[in-house]
Structures are given as structure tokens and as C-alpha cells.
Amino acid sequence: MTRRLIFDVSRPGRRARAQAPAAESAASADLPAELIRDRDAPLPAVSELDVVRHYTRLSQLNFSIDTNSYPLGSCTMKYNPRACHRLASLPGFLDVHPAAPDASVQGLLECLYELQDMLATVTGMEAITLAPMAGAQGEFAGVAMFKAYHHARGDHGRDEIIVPDAAHGTNPATAAMCGLKVREIATGKDGDIELEALDEALGPRTAGIMLTNPSTLGVFERHILEISRRVHAAGGLLYYDGANLNALLGRVLPGDMGFDAVHLNLHKTFSTPHGGGGPGAGAVGVASSLKPFLPVPFVEEAEGAYRWRTDSPDSIGRLAANGGNIGVLLRAWVYLRMLGREGLQRVADHAVLNANYLAVRVAEEGFDLAYPERRAGHEFVISLKALRDETGVTAADFAKAMLDEGFHAPTVYFPLLVPECLLIEPTETESPEALDALIEAMVRIRDAALSDPEAIRSAPHRMPIRRPDEVLAARKPDLAHAPALRPRASTSDEA
């Protein structure tokens, strides 16, 4: 199938007339001639209808939560309530310049202050920064605060971060960005961390440990209190990667588990949209020992008035040009105000119930759970190794076939520990009927793999494209449409 680029739609001289000032301004005469373009920027010349039609059609080539289930482990693809979008888009919020005086944005600041407060309460932490613009930036903030904490105590030898081998890739990448060395420790056969491996790694060089709980294997780390005790006894700190908080919301507080810093992916547990890959938000909560090092700015309240606090002597500094992804934060505020106290546990209970229901049912259908003896959290891992050995159909093939069935593929080949794995997270917003439909689809694919493996190995068949050649893409990178970059005549003659 051939699809046109917006550049192919372009016709010299055409334009969306209403979108630019009607009158030409000729006042660039005072700018030095050598600074002025000699021809207009090479952008498409199209009408408003051309644009609306082209991008509406492109949108229809996407899967999305609004159209499909996403049993995508570790990503928490749950429904994003429309009210969050609508209310965060009120002009009173959108039209605020970041330099507007605090007195003129009290409504906005009150929302952000409440969000800080609510997130501190649900994590059991002392203080919250809303500045990090994604989970990875939250991780950076947390680990940078660990470093600052040790340095402030004159403890300069702590240059290692311990990371379990099942961790998200951002964890080791963050430690490296902070200039720390990564010590990877093994996960035991039962899915928990091996305490002996932890003891071996702990020492005077330990700055801290980064953990996800439930882990990326979907199981609760049963030794968490013991891990916390040992890490603290060794002088280290504990970082909670909140990617999987959905499994525990309102039931278990990271602060109670002994974590010193926590990041929250607001685009996961707090239901702000993924937007095709962002913007996210990665609020970070800290225990009182780390509070002096929080990044700036944050919102303070005094005598009923709210203000941005930008000065904080021991802060690790600034992470964003302004106060973070405020529009995303407002969506999380709306979500939490609607969810409320009584809704917190409902999120975790239903997320974990859905995952356990799915896990039991797929096991009954003959799929291999990676940790059959363990209780699933909000997600679980299955291994398709047996199917691959019998039919040649891999986890990737299986995932592609799920697209044909109308389901987004689960996370594949992550965590790296389990061969041919699928990491499945249904989320709490999927109905029992949707879960049953997912199971039926998986069974259909498995049966097809047994009877006609080639059909699955060449899936998908019903999507806008067949499998793309990723090797070619990487070997000969084509990252921009070359003809659109070639200089061309000015388009100032109107058609």
C-alpha cells in the first residue's frame, strides 16, 4: 500500500489562508540582510482541508486505548478519562505564561499544591516535586538526590547503584547519567531478589538500590523489608521505580516499605494520556532526609497563598525550563479528585484481580506461566518457549498475530530473564468480557501456530503494513524526506 506524505499533497502557492496574519509586515528592513532567509522555509504548501484530511487519515492507522485493548506489561495502558483532558484545557489554565506573577495564578497553583499533597499521602513520603517531565527524569532526580545526600554527609566514596537484572532499562541508564557505576544483581528462581547477591553487592561504595515492586516479573518482592533493612544498614538508600504502583495503590505505601525516594509515572497509575510516547510526568516523592535536595521549583503555601519556590540552597537544581509538564499534572489532579480516597484501593484491587483472572485462565488454556507458584500482581509473564520449540513461532510472531486480532501486543522479550516471554498487564479498566476476548484470541493464535505456523510467522496480515524491515531502516537510515529538504522557489505567489 502506498501512502502519501504531506509533502506529496503540497502544491506551490497553496496555503491555509486563515492561519497566518492576512497583512504582510514589511518591517524586517532593520534586520541585517545576511540574517534573512533568501527563500521561505521548505514546509508543505497545503490548505486547511488538506491538513485535516491527511492527519485524520493518519490517525486512523493507529491503535489507541480508545479503540483497542493494550495488555502491554509495565506500561499501564488504562483508559484516560475525557474529563481530565477537557478540564486541563480550560482557557484559564492554557493561557498562563510561565512568568505570570504567582498572585495571578492562584487557581493553578492550588491544583498543583493539592496534587503534591495527594501524591505525598498515597506514597507515604514527606515531600513531592512535580518538576520531572517523565519517569526517566524522575529517576535522574532521585539518584541525583542520593548523591547529594551522601556528599552533604561528607560520604564521598559511594559511587555504585545496585540494580536487579530485571529492572527497566532506564534504571541503569539513569545511574550512568548521574556518573554512578551500575552493580547488577541476580533475581532468584522464585522471582525475588537473591539476598546473598544483595549482601555481596552492598558495601561502603553503595549509594543506593533501584527497585520496582511488584518487579517487572509481576510479582511482589517478598523480602522488601529485609532488603530495606540491609541496604540502610550498609549506608545506602532505596529508590522506588513507581512504574508498577498501579498494583499497590492505596494498599501498600512505598514509604512503609522503606523507600527513600519514589517516582510516579503519572501517565501510568494516574491515567494521564500516553500521547503516542509523551508527554509524561514523573513526580518524585522523598523522605524527610532528602527534602533539602529536591529540585526547584515547587509549590509552597503560606497563609492561604500559593507560590512557586525557586530558591533552595541544597537543591540538585533545575530539571525543566519551567515548572514541569503542568498540563499533564492538571490531568492527574482531575483524575485523583475524581478517584478520591475510596477509589484508590479500587484501582489496585481491580488491576490485580484482572491480572490474576487472566493468568489463571491462560494457564488453564495451556500457556506456561513463568512463575506459576507466585501470586500475580497487576501483570504476569508467560513463556512461549515450548510453543517455539514445537512450531518455530516466537514471542514476536505471537505478538504480531495479536495485532491481527485487534489487540495491541503485550510487552515482548522483557524482562530479559524469561525466554520467549510476553509480559501481560490488562489494567483495571478492561471489563471481564474484554479479558475473555483476549484469552480467546490467544487460544486462536496458539491453535493456528500448531496447525499452520507459517501463517503466524508471517503475521500480521490485516494491519496497514506487513512486518517492516527494521534491519534496512537501521543500516540505511532514512530519517527525513530528502525531496522536501531541497531548496525550491519562493511560494509567495498565491494560487
Partner: protein, 453 residues
């Protein structure tokens, strides 16, 4: 469902959690609201944000946002889809991102652009990190940066570079508000991985990119240029001056000011540096049937593959903002962007002319500017801005503490949104405030008889 899996209570779902950790009672936040209830509160809060007539820029700008942009960007297929790792289920987002990369490359005059970073400040920090990795001629771990580059960008870069022991050395302002890199080379010595400037810079002025390219060549440094994409509707792009890496704040491309975010970090470079670029990249390839297909590519640079050896820990991009920016650039086109940029410049020129006609207000620099300029006042800026805000005007940004060398300095901006009437209103109000305060100041002085007037 519980029965189906052999449990009797929801609490049994947590049977592997130590009892001491498990809470029966949820933590105490507000009781839940229905949609009508939260709407009531949100509207009341939004109303309490006072609308101000905006003459502030400094990295966030009020431009017209065409109606089609957020109508399309708010479609569920863009709003609620995931990162396009499963290319077959995300051809819309992938093709759009490829078009976005092409448009940013075209606008900046560079070979390639990535699928975006968080905001202008983090894009600048990543550009610095990238420059250190890319510069094969030097293993220097410091960057010479113009003080005229956004103070918050420099602050964020310091935060993010600090961990890797990379240092920012600031080049002071010269009399025309430009960066004095010669001073740095004469006084601090050489050994920089890159020279970093912004064009236009935070103070509204235009650096001499030709001179800095020559200096960079002489010293074996890369040239990093920060941009405002709207200005490139009118101005020659940094690619034509030989920039190695271009970064910028994409907010002016159809993204609301939103109190400071979410915005859009732009990053573009010469093709030889692609493999050191952080963040996602969309590429064009073919599928097994030989038809055109789009994918995320060169993922071996990224954290989910390379873990601790990745180019950055960044995982997300600002996908939804990419949709908005792409629609903006498509709707405006080259001509529309020229019109917007020219109108911004014309309005800003009118604004500066009107304000400097007031006694005690003068320009800080006698140099060309794009759509912002620094004004020096004969008194502290903060009380003047507060008095303007009382009259419903956001009069600019007080940069006196960020740039103490400029004295009482006010950064003002006008975009195509400001009318002549808006500018007159600002000038009239400022004149009244200045006069009032001059009278008040006179009244405070003792007269000859020793009695207060």
C-alpha cells in the same frame, strides 16, 4: 471473578504482601467527586487565574494556535496511543513523526532531527552531552556557553551535566548583548568540546553565527545553536551557517503556554552525528511486501536496548506535542511562518519604540532584535511589573537578578497576537506608573522649608 480464581476476598490478592505493609484503610486524600463536581472546582480554579495581556516571552510565547491543531491532536488515536514500538499498529504516529523530523530539518537547515525531547532546556543539555560524545578532535569535557543563552537552559544543563563531570563555562555579554567567546579563550583558555549560542538569544538579539563558526573551526569545537522555530520563518537557519547541533524550544509551534509545559524539545544535527543523538528517531523502510513502512529506528542508542551504555536515559518523547507542531508547520507552511515571524518582529519594534519614548526607559543594547528586547529602567523592575499586573498587563520578565550586569533590566516581547491598541495600552499604563512613582518619589523628598509637601 474472585471465585473463578479460587479466592474469597479482594484482600486475598495480596497474600504475598507482609501483613505489616498491607492497609485495610486507604490513605486519606479527598473523597471522590463525580465529573460534575470536579468540573465545578476546576472551573472555579481556572477562573481564579487572572488573564493578563501578555508582553512576556523568554522561552514561552503567545501565538495564534489554529483551531484544527488541537481538534486533530485530541483524537483518541493520537491522544491515547502508546509509543510506536509495534510499528504495524502505529503507522499514523510513525509517518507523522517522520514528517515532523523532515519539517524540523528543513526549518533549521539541518540534515536530521529526532522525534523530540522534553523541552528546550533539556534539549540544550542533551545537545551539550552529545557534543562531548561527537567531538572526535577533542576529549574536552567542557562547553563554552553564551550568557545570552536562556538562564533556565543553562541551569538545567548544569544539573544534567554535573553527574558526568562536564562543565559549562560562560562567555560574558559584550556591549551589544552578544557573547564574548574571545574573552573566554583569552582568559579561560581553550579546550572546549563545543561553543553554544542561541539565535535569537534570550535577550532577543542575534549572534554572529559566521564568526562563531570560524572560531569553532579554529579551536576544534562543535557549534551548538539554540533556536526559536518561529523566528526561522524569517531568519536564515543555523544549518546555513554550518551549525553542528541545533536545539530549541518548540512551544511556539501550536502549543499552549500552559503555565510552562508540556512543551517540546527540538534537536537536529548533521547526519554524521546521528548515532550519538539521544531520543527516538522515526525512519522510513519497506515491509515484507516491499511497500513503504515507518519504524522507530537506530534503537541501539537507547536505554531499553543499551541500558547503562545508552546515549541518554530518556525513554519518552513529547509525542502529542509533536502532533501539534507538525500540524502547525503544515498549516502555516513556509509563507505563513514568514508572515508570523515578520509580524512578530514588526510588533516588537513598535512596542520598543512606544516604550522607549517614556522617560527613564531605554534600550539596553543598540543591536537588532527579533521579537524581544531588553529595556533598562531607571528604577527596580519588580514594583513596576507588579503595578502593571494590577492593570491587567504582564509587562515582561524581570531579568535583573539573572543579569546583574544589566542593572534594572526588563525583557519585553510582542508576537503577532498583540495589536496596536494593546501596545498603546501598555505604553499608556507604563507612562502613568512611571509618572505616578516619580511624583511619589518627589513627594517623599523634603522641600526647602524642611516640611513634607
Amino acid at each position: 471473578m474472585l471465585n473463578r480464581i479460587g479466592l474469597s476476598r479482594l484482600r486475598d490478592l495480596y497474600d504475598e504482601v507482609p501483613d505489616s505493609l498491607l492497609r485495610d484503610e486507604p490513605p486519606s486524600i479527598f473523597p471522590g467527586l463525580d465529573e460534575a463536581g470536579v468540573t465545578r472546582i476546576a472551573r472555579e480554579r481556572a477562573r481564579r487565574n487572572t488573564p493578563l495581556l501578555c508582553f512576556a516571552g523568554g522561552g514561552a510565547y503567545e501565538h495564534h494556535i489554529p483551531a484544527a491543531i488541537w481538534d486533530i491532536a485530541s483524537r483518541g488515536e493520537f491522544y491515547s496511543n502508546y509509543t510506536p514500538y509495534q510499528a504495524e499498529a502505529a503507522q499514523g504516529s510513525l509517518q507523522l513523526t517522520y514528517e515532523y523530523q523532515t519539517m524540523i530539518a528543513g526549518l533549521t537547515g539541518m540534515d536530521v532531527a529526532n522525534a523530540s525531547l522534553y523541552d528546550g532546556a533539556t534539549a540544550f543539555a542533551e545537545a551539550c552531552l552529545m557534543a562531548v560524545r561527537c567531538n572526535r578532535k577533542s576529549d574536552a569535557r567542557r562547553i563554552a556557553v553564551a550568557r545570552s543563552l536562556h538562564p533556565a537552559w543553562r541551569a538545567v544543563a548544569r544539573t544534567l551535566l554535573n553527574g558526568q563531570g562536564i562543565e559549562l563555562v560562560e562567555a560574558p555579554l559584550d556591549d551589544s548583548g552578544r557573547a564574548d567567546f574571545n574573552y573566554v579563550y583569552e582568559n579561560v583558555g581553550g579546550g572546549f568540546a563545543a561553543i553554544a549560542v542561541a539565535a535569537p538569544n534570550y535577550l532577543g538579539g542575534m549572534p554572529d553565527l559566521e564568526a562563531w563558526r570560524a572560531l569553532a573551526d579554529r579551536e576544534g569545537a562543535l557549534l551548538v545553536v539554540g533556536i526559536n522555530p518561529v523566528s526561522l520563518g524569517l531568519l536564515r537557519p543555523p544549518g546555513e551557517f554550518g551549525a553542528d547541533i541545533v536545539c530549541g524550544e518548540g512551544q511556539p509551534l501550536g502549543i499552549p503556554m500552559s503555565g510552562g509545559g508540556p512543551y517540546l524539545g527540538l534537536l537536529a544535527c548533521k547526519s554524521r552525528y546521528i548515532r550519538q543523538m539521544p531520543g527516538r528517531l522515526a525512519g522510513r523502510t519497506v515491509d515484507t511486501a516491499g511497500d513503504t513502512a515507518y519504524v522507530l529506528t537506530l534503537q541501539a542508542r537507547e536505554q531499553h536496548i543499551r541500558r547503562s551504555r545508552a546515549t541518554s536515559n530518556i525513554c519518552t518523547n513529547q509525542g502529542l506535542m509533536v502532533v501539534a507542531a507538525t500540524l502547525y508547520m503544515a498549516l502555516l507552511g513556509g509563507e505563513g511562518m514568514r508572515r508570523v515571524a515578520s509580524a512578530c518582529h514588526a510588533r516588537a519594534a513598535q512596542l520598543v519604540e512606544a516604550l522607549t519614548a517614556i522617560g527613564g526607559v531605554r534600550r539596553a543594547f543598540d543591536a537588532p532584535f527579533f521579537h524581544e528586547d531588553v529595556l533598562c529602567l531607571d528604577r527596580p523592575v519588580a514594583p513596576v511589573l507588579a503595578a502593571l499586573a494590577e492593570q491587567g498587563i504582564l509587562g515582561g520578565i524581570d531579568i535583573s537578578s539573572d543579569y546583574p550586569e544589566l542593572g534594572n533590566a526588563l525583557l519585553v516581547c510582542a508576537t503577532e497576537m498583540r495589536t496596536e491598541a494593546d501596545i498603546s495600552r501598555y505604553a499608556r499604563t507604563l507612562r502613568e506608573i512611571v509618572a505616578l512613582r516619580q511624583r511619589a518619589a518627589r513627594n517623599m523628598e523634603p522641600d526647602d522649608s524642611g516640611q513634607s509637601a
